[in-house]
C-alpha cells in the first residue's frame, strides 16, 4: 500500500518541486506538463540507444534544463506573458516529441526499444519486511529516493544558500531586490531552468518506469503539480505533503475500482474530490487559527 502511494507520488512531487521554485521566484511556469513529456521522451530515447538508464536520465536532465533555460530567456527577454508562452511550450512538447519520434523511431505512437527493461526497483532486504517503513523505503525505482533527496536539498537551497534566498527575494519583492543589487530576472531564469531539471526527472521516471514512451504519458501530472504548490502553501514541506495527499487519494480510487460497487469511470473523480476536501478543510482550519489575510 505505502509502496504504491510512494510510486504514484514521485512524479507529482518532482514536478511540483520544480514548479515551486519558479513560483517562489515570482515567475510560475505552467509548462511543467510539456517539460515532463519532453523529459520522458529524451530519457527513453537515450536509454534505448545506449542501453543505460543512467545515460537516459542524465541526457534528459541536461536537455530539458537547457530547453527550460531557452524558454525562460525568451519569455523574460521579450517580456512575453509567461502563461501564454507556457501554453506554447505544452503544445510544442506534444508536437515536437511526435515529430522526433517519427524521425528516430518511425512511429508517432508507442516507442519501446527492444531489450530495455522497465527500471529496476531497489529492494532493501533488511527493511523490506518491516511494516510501513518497508513500503516507504524499499521496492521503489531510483526516482522515489531521488525525489526525497531533492526535496530536502531544495529546502536547504532555498533557505540557506545565497542563490536560493535571492530567488525568493525576486519573487517576494522584486523592487526591493533590485534596490539591493539583485537582478530578479537572473534568478528567475535560474528558477525556470531548475523547473526543467525537476520535470525532466519526473518524465524520465514515467517512461523508464514503463520501459516505453507513450505520447501524452505525462497525462496531466504537470497541472496537478501546480495544484500541489498552492495546496502545500508554497513551502517545500507543504508540497511534499500535498503530493502525498493526492497520491493517497489516487491510490484509494485505484483500489476502490476493484472492490467497491461504484463504476470505475465515476471513481476517476475521487482523487480531485478528496484533494478538494483536504484543501478546503485546511483553509478553514487555518482561518480558525486566526491566520487572517
Amino acid at each position: 500500500m505505502i509502496s504504491s502511494i510512494v510510486d504514484i507520488m514521485t512524479p507529482f512531487l518532482l514536478a511540483a518541486l520544480g514548479g515551486l521554485v519558479t513560483e517562489l521566484a515570482g515567475s510560475l511556469v505552467i509548462a511543467l506538463e510539456g517539460f515532463i513529456l519532453v523529459g520522458a521522451f529524451v530519457a527513453l530515447a537515450v536509454a534505448g540507444a545506449t542501453g543505460s538508464a543512467l545515460a537516459g536520465i542524465a541526457a534528459s536532465a541536461v536537455f530539458v534544463t537547457a530547453a527550460a533555460w531557452a524558454f525562460g530567456r525568451f519569455t523574460i527577454g521579450t517580456k512575453a506573458n509567461i502563461f501564454i508562452t507556457g501554453l506554447a511550450v505544452n503544445l510544442f512538447a506534444a508536437g515536437l516529441t511526435a515529430w522526433a519520434s517519427a524521425v528516430l523511431f518511425g512511429t508517432k505512437g508507442v516507442v519501446k526499444p527492444a531489450g530495455l527493461e522497465p527500471l529496476a526497483r531497489l529492494s532493501i532486504p533488511a527493511i523490506e519486511r518491516l511494516p510501513v517503513i518497508g513500503g516507504l523505503l524499499s521496492g521503489h525505482t531510483v526516482f522515489a529516493y531521488l525525489s526525497w533527496i531533492l526535496a530536502l536539498a531544495l529546502a536547504v537551497f532555498l533557505k540557506r544558500t545565497r542563490t536560493g534566498l535571492r530567488i525568493r527575494a525576486s519573487g517576494m519583492d522584486a523592487q526591493a531586490a533590485t534596490v539591493r543589487g539583485v537582478d530578479p530576472d537572473r534568478y528567475r531564469l535560474i528558477a525556470i531552468s531548475l523547473s526543467g531539471f525537476f520535470c525532466a526527472l519526473a518524465g524520465a521516471g514515467l517512461s523508464l518506469g514503463a520501459g516505453a514512451y507513450i505520447p501524452n504519458i505525462s497525462s496531466g501530472r504537470g497541472w496537478i503539480a501546480l495544484v500541489a504548490i498552492y495546496l502545500g502553501g508554497r513551502t517545500t514541506g507543504g508540497v511534499v505533503a500535498a503530493s502525498a495527499v493526492f497520491a493517497v487519494a489516487e491510490y484509494l480510487s485505484n483500489i476502490a475500482q476493484g472492490t467497491v460497487a461504484i463504476p470505475g469511470s465515476l471513481l476517476l473523480a475521487f482523487p480531485y474530490l478528496v484533494t478538494f476536501a483536504v484543501f478546503v478543510g485546511y483553509a478553514i482550519y487555518k482561518k480558525g487559527r486566526g491566520k487572517l489575510d
Partner: protein, 358 residues
Amino acid sequence: MKNWFTSSPSSRPLRIAGRVGLFAALALAAIFSVSCSRDGGSQAKPGSIAVFVPGVVSGSPIYEMLVAGTQKAAAESKGSTVKVLEGGTDQAQWPEKLTSLAATGQYRLIVTSNPAMPEICAGISEKFPAQKFLILDGKLEGNKNIATVMYNQREQGYFDGYLAGLITKKLVKNGKPHRIGLVAAQEYPVMNEIIKPGYEEGAKAADPAVTVDFRVVGNWYDAAKATELANGMFANGVEVVLTIAGGANQGVVAAAKQKDRKVLWFDTNGYATEPGVIVGSAVILQDRAAYGKVKSWLDGKMEFGKAEVVGIKDGFVDFVQDDPLYLKAVPEDVRKAQGAMLESVRSGSLSLPVQAAN
C-alpha cells in the same frame, strides 16, 4: 500565479493589434484565395479515396491497419489515390471534419472505422448524396451510400477470456478466488456490452469459478496509472490481465513483468511486445478487411446498403496460435484446449453471434 493577469499588456494596443492582425490576415487571405481557388472546379477522380480517422493514426493499431489496408488496395489499382484525414479524439468534432472532407467533392469513397461513424456518415450523406462511404467496425443497413463491416468482437473477447480462464484454473490453487483482470482505457458501448461480456463468457466456459476484475484508466496513455491498476489486481490474486488501453497497455506489461504475471493482447498480435509476458492475442484483421473491401470497390463490385458482420469463420477475427512466442510461453495442454475451442467456432459447432451495441 496571480501575476499572470495583472501583467497582461494593456488593452488598447492589443485592441489595435487585433485589428491589425485581422486586416493582415484578410489581406493575405484575399491574395491567397485568388491563387488557390482551383479546388472549387475539380471533380472527384475515379479511384480517389479518403480515409477519415476518428482519432489519430499513430499508436492506434486499428487505424494503422485501416490506412495500410486501404493504401495497399489503392496501390494495386492504377490512378487510385488515398488521402488520410485525422479527426482527432473529440467525437463532437467528427461530423464537422467529415463534412469538410465530403464537401471538397474530391473523393469518390470515404473509408472510416468506428461504431459511431455509421450515424454520423448517414447524417452527412443526406447533404452529399453523391458521396459513398465504407465503414468498418460499425453497422448500418439500408443506406444506399453506405456499406458497413462489423467485427464479431464477442468472439474476440471470448477467446482472450477462454485462455485467461484456462490459465487461471491451472495456476490458482488452494481454494483461492479465481479472478481475471480487464484493464480498459474507457467505458464505451462496445466495451461494456460486447467485449467485457464476451471475455467473461469465455473465461467462465473454461473455469466457471472465474470472476472479472474490471478497471478503467480514464484515458489511452497514462501508463503509470495502468501499472497501479494492474498491481492492484495482482494483489487481489489476479494471474492474467487483458488490457485494452492503447499506449497505457505498456504500464500493464511493465507491472506484469515485474510481478511475473501474464497479459493478454487485443486487436493486434502483441507477443513480441514482451515475450513470455504476453500469452495471448485476439486480433482483428482490419487491414485485410480494408484491403478486400476497398479492392472490391475499385473493381466496381461493392454493394452499398449492406451491413456485414464478420468473425472467426470469415477470417477477420482470430486468435493467434501459430506465433512461436505463443508456443513458447503457453503450456501445451492449455494451447490444445484453446485450439479445440477455436476449432469448434470455425467448424460452426459453437456459434457466438453478436448484436450491434447500442
